[in-house]
Amino acid sequence: MSKYAPKTEELKKEFEEKKPRLLKGKFDGMDWWDIPVEFRDGNWCFPAKPEVLDELHFPNPRKWAATDKDWQLPANWEKTIRDGMKDRLKRFRSFKVFMDSCVRCGACADKCHFFLGTGDPKNMPVMRAELVRSIYRQDVNAFARVLTKFSGSRKLTPEVIKEWHMYFHQCTECRRCSVFCPMGIDTAEITMMARELLNLIGVNNNWILAPVANCNRTGNHLGIEPHTFEQNIMSLVDDIEEVTGVRVNPTFNRKGAEILFITPSGDVFGDPGVYTMMGYLLLFHHIGLDYTISTYASEGGNFGTFTSNEMMKKLNAKMYHEAKRLGVKWILGGECGHMWRVVHQYMATMNGPADFLQEPVSPITGTKFTNAKATKMVHIAEFTADLIKHNKLKLDPKRNDHLRTTFHDSCNVARGMGMFEEPRYILNKVCNVFHEMPENTIREQTFCCGSGSGLNAEEFMDIRMRGGFPRASAVAHVREKHKVDSLVTICAIDRASLTPLMRYWNPGVSVYGLHELVGNALIMDGEKKRTEDLRENDMAGFEEDDDE
């Protein structure tokens, strides 16, 4: 296991010792602003390298670490933060209303996965917002400037910046707290603002900004150049042929295709994401879809979202730009979490209107996707659910009998889009064993993997394993009760981050993409006798010598 996380047993012991309490430590008689901020191994992400900042024209490139005493903030940083805050309060009603209307009822307190896992009081969403609100009050309320302790306001100091850096990078913008807030306050919104502000003075995270720089230059977070991108997918095509005997034929940057398919680059390069990619390729081949994949718009995800709304727009712009250049009719999007928050709630607003595209219609079933008629981008789960509903897929769910599944709703797809039924419908059609996790841990109440919003860094493992604990605890429940061994998800970051999380808390549970299971179940024309799934694991009841 990672040197940046305690051993599972140590963390278990910590939890056993404080149960049933959630808070870690004693705070009686203390004010929250007196609790010190301590950076240690495993609770901070490495800052962006100077060359990354140079490439992005971001301010204050330098070598530094969160554990340094002096963070080398730029001259006049206080003014930069204050002016930046004023500017954002003007542009975002959400920010202003959320600063003004919290009553500190505490309903959000025990809803955050980071609070549940760390027991750190400043991880209660209300406290996280107070970190900013306490500075905001100074600027808008004369009484607050004088009655600091009474009103909970304070001066902007380098300590405050350190605190913001710590706690706005212990929020994955998952929006679970906002489900429970009687005022609808969304901490994701506040975290986005705080991260924008921190970026103005060069307080940042390399795991976010390096992918941003990569995506800008090469088209994807991983920095894969076009020829390598193509080669990698072609090697998956070889793997597919080996398992199924069928040669699929994806095309790249092809003008005149009907549909442009965009998915997170993690599906092209990362394990186990590549198996989901194989599932997509099999599906498209199965239905004879006229589609193409772009090496330029080769990233569904958008780490700009975790940086600033301008950067989100800049990276997202490539999707429409490429769709227009290739002359496709509409865009189909793969399984991803924050990608779908961006596509669903931001894309048309930022980079639309997409009047050069057509209202999406499934070429196979003729179904009009009226819910996507402005953005012109359809989620693969919507697309596949429609295919199955119209009996357009030949499926053998027995081919997934070696898996006992449960489904993890991705935060952004759940609370930033509202898609719950389609993936469940598909899952029930492609496998025979599916059990839901407890109701307070799924659908709109789903728990984050603990590594979303650009916090999937190795050096952040301690906080990641803690933040993922609520999800892991729910998986453990269905594992004990129903012997579940497969966690199915529709998010690339989930596939990358739930894998180590399961290894840490629930060894023996593997992580799958939904379309990987679709790929397993598809009965392809001209296929050979299938005995292995896409991971080349034996399927149950399909052994080589089994004559049925």
Binding site: R21, S101, P226, T367
Partner: protein, 331 residues
């Protein structure tokens, strides 16, 4: 404890001011006429200013928190209230928040059990306490209309008699008086009994609870204990209702304590967390339909951003692309 005692002390001091002023300073006119008009003016102008200030700020993105299935394929069952697809349903969703505290109704309590394992229990006390508090305050305010009108309109009369249906005391006991006091007690006790709440609560969270508690206690004492003479009170409130400036007849210091604390509350609203009564209507996670893929939402300040175009990309990678057999726009 400083966080709790300071606001408590503050409310006591505030209560003493009119008491001393009326008893020893004969400042009836100040506390009966001048301060109430000023307080109402500050409340109205203050709230108006806050509302205009909020509404002037744009909503750049459509960001509802979706708590149910979106409208997608025809055969997929949608949840129109938790994921509204049109403005009408979004309005209903917001009303369910304002009138019934929908989101608070979802509240759960997490506990760490052996294993270790997280367990979530339903926890509706905050919802119940909050609802009881806000609704009883509303009814109390509404039935105070009888002081400001010659004849009460039918609906207010009905509310009033319903509130008095437990006709066991003289004068008849108002149910909401008891509910409001019980709810305030619960809301304070809740902040004090839980260690998380103790840490996250500020003095400004206790202050309005104590203030409203003080108002209620003064009002209840007047009605049931000291039995204030209602005639001069009604004559003062009618004067206020008709924007008159006639000096009030002698009423008694307790009444002025009640009235002054109400004035403090009115003035406090626009500058404090009590703003939430307006903020909830403007919360973009609750008052917008989840239709941003079907209907383009416009951001009035959508910035012009220069992004890396395909042409620039191809310029950098053209040779590699050609070698890999990828199509290029320029040879």
């Amino acid at each position: 404890m400083r966080k709790v005692l300071q606001p408590l002390l503050l409310v006591l001091v505030l209560a003493l001011i009119p008491y001393v002023g009326v008893t020893y300073g004969k400042l009836d006119y100040l506390f009966g006429i001048i301060i109430p008009y000023t307080a109402v003016a500050i409340l109205v102008l203050g709230m108006l200013w806050r509302l205009i200030d909020w509404v002037r700020r744009p909503v750049p993105f459509r960001i509802p928190t979706t708590c149910g299935q979106e409208k997608s394929l025809d055969w997929v069952k949608t949840n129109p209230l938790e994921s509204p697809s049109n403005p009408f349903m979004a309005a209903l969703r917001m009303l369910s928040e304002v009138l019934f505290f929908r989101s608070l109704f979802r509240n759960t309590k997490a506990e760490l059990h052996g294993g270790p394992k997280l367990v979530y229990g339903s926890h509706k006390w905050l919802w119940l306490g909050g609802l009881a508090f806000h609704w009883s305050l509303l009814i109390i305010v509404v039935r105070h209309a009888r002081f400001f009108m010659e004849t009460m309109p039918m609906p207010i009369q009905m509310i009033d008699s319903f509130d008095r249906f437990l006709d066991v005391t003289v004068p008849a006991f108002y149910l909401t008086d008891a509910i409001a006091l019980a709810a305030i007690t619960f809301l304070v006790a809740r902040r004090l009994s839980d260690e998380k709440m103790r840490l996250l609560s500020l003095s400004t969270d206790y202050f309005p609870l104590f203030l409203i508690g003080g108002i209620a206690l003064a009002g209840i004492s007047m009605r049931y204990v000291t039995k204030v003479n209602i005639m001069p009170v009604k004559s003062l409130t009618m004067t206020l209702a008709s924007f008159g400036f006639t000096a009030p007849e002698p009423i008694g210091a307790l009444f002025y304590v009640h009235l002054f604390l109400v004035c403090v509350l009115l003035v406090y609203v626009p500058f404090s967390k009590l703003l939430h009564m307006g903020g909830i209507f403007l919360s973009p996670t609750r008052n917008l339909p989840n239709d941003s893929r079907a209907k383009r939402h416009v951001n009035p300040w959508n910035p012009d951003i220069k992004f890396r175009t395909y042409a620039e990309y191809e310029d950098e990678f053209r040779e590699k692309m050609k070698k890999a057999g990828l199509p290029v726009d320029k040879q």
